[in-house]
Amino acid sequence: MADSDAGVNGALFLVLVNTGTPSVPVYEAVGSQRDATVEESSANVDYSSKDSRNQRVGYGRYSSTISFEHLYIQSDTGYAALKAANRAGDMILVARELDGVALETANAKVDSMSENYPDQGESVISVAMTIDGAWTEVGT
């Protein structure tokens, strides 16, 4: 694997997964990542009334999802951990890392893993996860 310090186009944001145990986590970056999307959203609580035409809203349920894409590497331990968690119905600890520094961790459910193996093309794995609870800053 090449040294990632050898140049970055865009943000070096990586998704890490726990390849250790829940009590002694070992976070490893899933190999050969090409894209990642983290979404955090809050549902609306609408407390508008007839007293005013203005809509009034408050924060409802918070939720967060992660989706990312990586090249298929048969021996990659992060990929294997995700696949095992998905098949066993286990939650998996994930972390967000930026420029080599783990920022936040969370417990996640694997929603889907899509594996695409084209003829004469690179094989790509697409993963979608939903966070259970909230993100926790590392060190808190």
């Binding site: 694997m1 990632s4 186009n9 990586l14 050969s32 990586h70």
Partner: protein
């Protein structure tokens, strides 16, 4: 030096079926990786000199290359293209979907387009374009 030069040369020059169809240059089969070939080279021969295109094939954590390289096959224009076509077909067999050993890289895929005709006045030519993707180790 291109990362593909040695890989393709070794693949071609070490195949007995192909080298039996080629002339010799010195004690080696006439497979050249420079352009133009030496003036005293005899036909038939193969020239593969550098890439036509070369683009990154990177991820956030890995580096790689996507390359296209031409392999040009030539034989004397003696009224029959049988020899040059045999050479070109053998080159395609050796490179299409075949693993290449690339120093410092892991081969991912190879794909050949052609052979296409590149005849000239007194020389018959066929060109095979090899697409290769490889990742740095």
């Amino acid at each position: 030096m291109s990362i593909l030069t040695a890989a393709i040369y070794n693949k071609l020059a070490n195949d007995g079926t192909l080298t039996a169809l080629l002339a010799a240059y010195g004690s080696e089969p006439a497979v050249f990786t420079t352009d133009p070939v030496p003036g005293n080279a005899s036909l038939p021969y193969i020239v593969t000199a550098g890439e036509v295109t070369q683009a990154p094939f990177d991820t956030k954590q890995t580096r790689g290359r996507s390359l296209i390289r031409d392999v040009r096959c030539y034989a004397a224009a003696d009224g029959s293209a049988a020899v040059v076509e045999q050479i070109a077909e053998r080159v395609r067999t050796l490179l299409h979907r075949q693993v290449l050993v690339i120093d410092g890289y892991s081969w991912m895929l190879s794909d050949c387009a052609g052979p296409i005709v590149a005849d000239d006045d007194d020389i018959y030519g066929r060109i095979i374009s090899v697409s290769v993707i490889a990742q740095e180790d």
